[in-house]
């Protein structure tokens, strides 16, 4: 018997996947491997595969490779005990092999937690670069590999110094050797490795550059704006803004992210880069209003007495025409719905 929350997640996935029969056909009977399989994207892909198999009888097999499989299995019994989902303990910093019948690989292993970027940049570099190398080596051994999709980062092309959307071909200069650039530089290194394996080993590789996401399965303790706002709203604390709140981000819901990733597997072209995110930016202040709507009460928003007079331009959201055209995907879940669903998920989890 599925809980209301789980049914909602299943419905979200089916809504995201409802458009394209071509992509569903491309996934039927395939074996998909996800490194970093128990993270945000991996968890949503598990939800998506479960929903597709149950609804459309696609017969997809999913292998989730993860460093801390045991914890995820314990927390997600419904998904982990399914016959079509396997969870494998594997640290990508070690050489490893995929199941020999794997036809699709999603490389999502990495450390998105910027606190770890600060405290353990060495581990971040190793996991990102060595992890990428090991995943590519393992993929190179697969006789039936149709595509490997590398989940890169929206930060690889530098920090924007202007407002507006970022296209795949936009880049901004950044000095080399910066400690706080380790994640960006490691992700750039990973993209270089992909290009090398694609060219030298003729591997079918595409790249996704993820922007920002929202949804269940996201750790609320990471100090990103949306998490902080949600958490403060849930606990009834005041929301403190340390700049003028004009910074803009966009947020794509988990089920859309999962579907787009699967679409890239089927329809991606070798060497192509696809932005993944929402094209509709919202300022921090607007985001707070949406969270207030979801929570059905007003937040106590307070501006720090120390905020600077003029905030620097701070936009980070994608230009999506290339992704829409090439992959035939669109944002299915509006931001308002996404915030509402996510808020409900966290309220019920913390109750």
């Amino acid at each position: 018997m599925m809980s209301a929350l789980s049914s909602q997640l299943q419905k979200d996935c089916l809504d995201a996947a409802s458009g394209s029969g071509e992509i569903r056909a491309g996934l039927a009977g395939q074996r998909i491997a996800v490194t970093g399989g128990t993270g945000f994207l991996g968890s949503w892909i598990a939800e998506m595969v479960a929903a597709l198999n149950d609804e459309y009888k696609l017969g997809i097999t999913l292998d989730l490779y993860s460093r801390n499989a045991a914890d995820w299995v314990k927390a997600n019994q419904r998904l982990a005990t399914r016959g079509d989902i396997h969870v494998v303990t594997q640290d990508v910093r070690s050489p490893f092999a995929f199941h020999s019948a794997t036809s699709y690989v999603i490389h999502a292993a990495g450390i998105p937690d910027n606190r770890v970027h600060a405290s353990d940049p060495l581990r971040v570099f190793q996991t990102t670069v060595q992890g990428m190398a090991h995943a590519l080596e393992a993929a190179a051994q697969l006789p039936d590999l149709k595509r490997l999709v590398n989940l890169s980062s929206s930060l690889v092309n530098g920090t924007p110094d202007r407002t507006g959307p970022i296209a795949e071909s936009d880049f901004f200069a950044a000095p080399a050797g910066q400690l706080h650039g380790v994640y960006r530089d490691a992700k750039r290194g990973a993209e270089s490795l992909c290009a090398a394996y694609r060219s030298q080993f003729r591997l079918p590789i595409s790249t996704i550059r993820p922007f920002t996401f929202v949804g269940p399965y996201q750790e609320l303790d990471r100090p990103w704006a949306i998490n902080s706002f949600m958490r403060d709203m849930l606990s009834g604390s005041e929301i403190r803004m340390h700049n003028d709140g004009s910074a803009r981000r966009s947020y794509l819901y988990g089920s859309d992210a999962a579907w787009w990733t699967l679409a890239a597997l089927v329809k991606g072209v070798d060497g192509q880069v696809y932005n993944m995110g929402s094209a509709d930016p919202v300022s921090h202040l607007e985001l707070i209003k949406l969270i207030e709507k979801a929570a059905r009460r007003e937040a106590k928003t307070v501006f720090s007495e120390a905020k600077p007079e003029v905030s620097k331009p701070d936009d980070l959201y994608p230009e999506l025409s290339h992704s829409h055209r090439s992959l035939g995907v669109r944002q299915n879940c509006s931001l308002e719905q996404a915030i509402s669903k996510t808020y409900r998920w966290y309220s019920e989890k913390s109750a």
């Binding site: 460093r67 045991a70 303990t89 640290d91 990508v92 910093r93 070690s94 050489p95 405290s119 353990d120 581990r123 190793q126 060595q130």
Partner: protein, 300 residues
């Protein structure tokens, strides 16, 4: 005459502590390192182990689960969180575990103070507290033997920044908590406080710890005798342990400062903090091994 055999020892956790332990075990008369297990093959420790010809595995605790005969004593040099999982498994397998993390599941052990009691109790999980604890608690204990009802004991340790990796920095609270708890147990003081300071000076400083004991009318001569005897006991397994400020009275408190210079086995000598906890761990493991081998001999 029978060939002297060694007890098989496995190490889980291939960071600095685990690797230094492995290098020390290579010199041991009682212990043989038959497994060096971690989560990935890429660490420097794994490469060192490979060079030394020690059997390596990236399966972590599973390496023992899949082949329980591979070792009898296990050093857990991972994390307090992981240790809970490891002990549940190793307990069932009947292994003796020397826990290098602040998990505090087992018998707290400072070899110079309670090696015999820990062994006699038959405890199969022996916890090595913390590096600062191994350095300071023997002194606190020696003072408490002369003055049993101490109101307050404080230990302040300075370690070089370079010797403190991400794990240490992320777990300062656990370090302080474990050290204070053990300080309380082994000194009987009413109140205990532990302070840890990371010192970025270059060249890196040696580990240094000062013990303050609040005592009205201390018998400084007796304290000196007791402390010197304790230092000698510790020197048996930590040669680099030195007293640099003898027990001194300053108002209502007695002050002692000790310094630990590491053996330089894997890490440089300034990392005395890592060296002392490892020396203590080996010391107790060797005693466990000795007992085990003697039992086996008697059974032959």
């Amino acid at each position: 005459m029978t060939q002297k055999s060694k007890v098989k020892v496995g190490i889980i956790g291939t960071g600095n502590i685990g690797t230094d332990l492995m290098v020390k075990i290579m010199r041991s008369e009682w212990l043989e390192c038959t497994l060096f297990a971690g989560r990935n093959f890429n660490s420097a420790g794994m490469q060192k182990a490979n060079e030394l010809g020690v059997h390596i595995s990236d399966r972590g605790i599973d390496a023992i689960v899949q082949n329980p005969d591979i070792c009898d004593i296990v050093f857990d040099a991972t994390s307090a969180h992981a240790h809970h999982e490891h002990w549940a498994i190793l307990d069932k397998l009947g292994k003796t575990v020397i826990d290098m993390t602040p998990a505090k599941l087992g018998a707290l052990c400072i070899p110079a103070i309670n090696a015999k009691e820990a062994l006699d109790s038959g405890a199969r999980n022996i916890n090595m507290i913390t590096c600062g604890g191994q350095a300071s608690i023997p002194i606190a204990n020696a003072i408490a033997q002369v003055h049993p009802n101490i109101g307050y004991i404080e230990v302040a340790s300075s370690i070089s920044s370079r010797s403190a990796g991400p794990a240490t920095r992320h777990n300062l609270d656990e370090y302080i908590d474990a050290t204070e708890q053990a300080l309380q147990k082994f000194s009987g003081a009413v109140r205990c406080k532990a302070i840890l300071i990371l010192n970025p000076a270059r060249p890196p400083i040696d580990m240094q710890t000062t013990i303050y004991a609040q005592i009205e009318n201390p018998d400084i001569e007796k304290i000196r005798v007791s402390v010197e005897a304790m230092v000698k006991k510790i020197n048996a397994y930590v040669p680099g342990y030195k007293m640099i400020v003898n027990p001194t009275v300053d108002g209502n408190r007695v002050i002692v400062t000790i310094k630990v210079v590491g053996a330089g086995d894997y890490l440089p000598p300034y990392a005395g903090n890592l060296d002392i906890i490892n020396c203590a761990a080996i010391a107790i493991a060797e005693q466990v091994a000795e007992i085990k081998l003697r039992k086996e001999q008697n059974n032959d």
